[in-house]
Subunit: 174 residues, 2 copies
């Protein structure tokens, strides 16, 4: 099983879509799920987590839906991962094996109490490198890269689809 | 659940112990498990994986047991992780969400076929940073750090315990 679950992947795709759409309207979890072809109930939970962390905001009512709450350049991959997985999820959990070592049992000068285990320290360093990289990458960068690469007809198709579902469109067609 | 399982932690501790012991003898999985206070059947599997990857070697027979097969300076944390978790375990598994996007369905110029997904590419970059860091840290470094920090009486106690169980000692007391 991967360390980061499907919700992280879904959340990132939705945020890139919201950043690319750049419309005034909001989009329902159901429409965003349909657009991406992902399970709506799963995406609803993901959006709730992103909302709780202030990355997206939910507008209630008939015109309701989700929209970005921060500029896409201010949303890092790390923000998204921490919002969805929780900020304390670590890829290595030190079980303090050294405390169980026969020579540390009952010793007053036990190594067990002396700071971070050297093995754990290496893992913390590795995770720090990963997190620094994720913190340096924003939703804006990926949305711009998609914008440059996406064939024109697909861009038009995406805009049309999203416009047809945005809350402002729904309001206009009332 | 952490990305790297307990076996990685157990394996790293055992390798540091084997590097610190620096004796001619070999140690049985049972003795290494007892020394570290970890489940013997679990450690046996971990040692088998380390053996398969050429990090430790098993000497069979009455004098049998495990010893390092490579110099501790030539065993990186990444070697150990890959030996135990498998070299293809990734912390993010791209499910190609873009292929399911409504606008990519049936499109000849589908984005789905155009290289690595930009979101996946960021995750690959983050994992690369983590793996580079793990590749830069060796068992020798941690063993040396332990050597410097460990109180003298604990070092003596560890050496005595390990000597009493090493294969050469067992041979001498036959």
């Amino acid at each position: 099983m991967a360390h980061f679950g499907r919700a992280v992947e879904y959340g990132l795709h939705v945020l890139v879509t919201l950043a690319s759409a750049r419309k005034d309207g909001e989009f329902s979890a159901k429409d965003l799920a349909e657009f991406h072809g992902v399970p709506p109930e799963y995406l609803a939970k993901t959006l709730a987590a992103l909302c709780k962390s202030g990355i997206v905001e939910a507008v209630e009512g008939f015109r309701g839906g989700y929209r970005l709450h921060r500029a896409p350049g201010d949303i890092s991959f790390l923000d998204v991962v921490d919002a969805i997985e929780g900020p304390n999820k670590r890829f290595f959990e030190c079980k303090e094996v050294r405390q169980r070592c026969v020579i540390n049992q009952g010793s007053e000068s036990s190594l067990a109490a002396s700071g971070v285990c050297a093995i754990h320290a290496v893992m913390i360093g590795a995770e720090k490198r990963m997190r620094e990289f994720l913190a340096s990458k924003t939703i804006d960068e990926v949305a711009n890269s998609l914008e440059r690469k996406r064939p024109h007809e697909l861009k038009v198709a995406a805009d049309e689809w999203l416009n047809s579902r945005s809350s402002s469109k729904r309001l206009r067609t009332k």
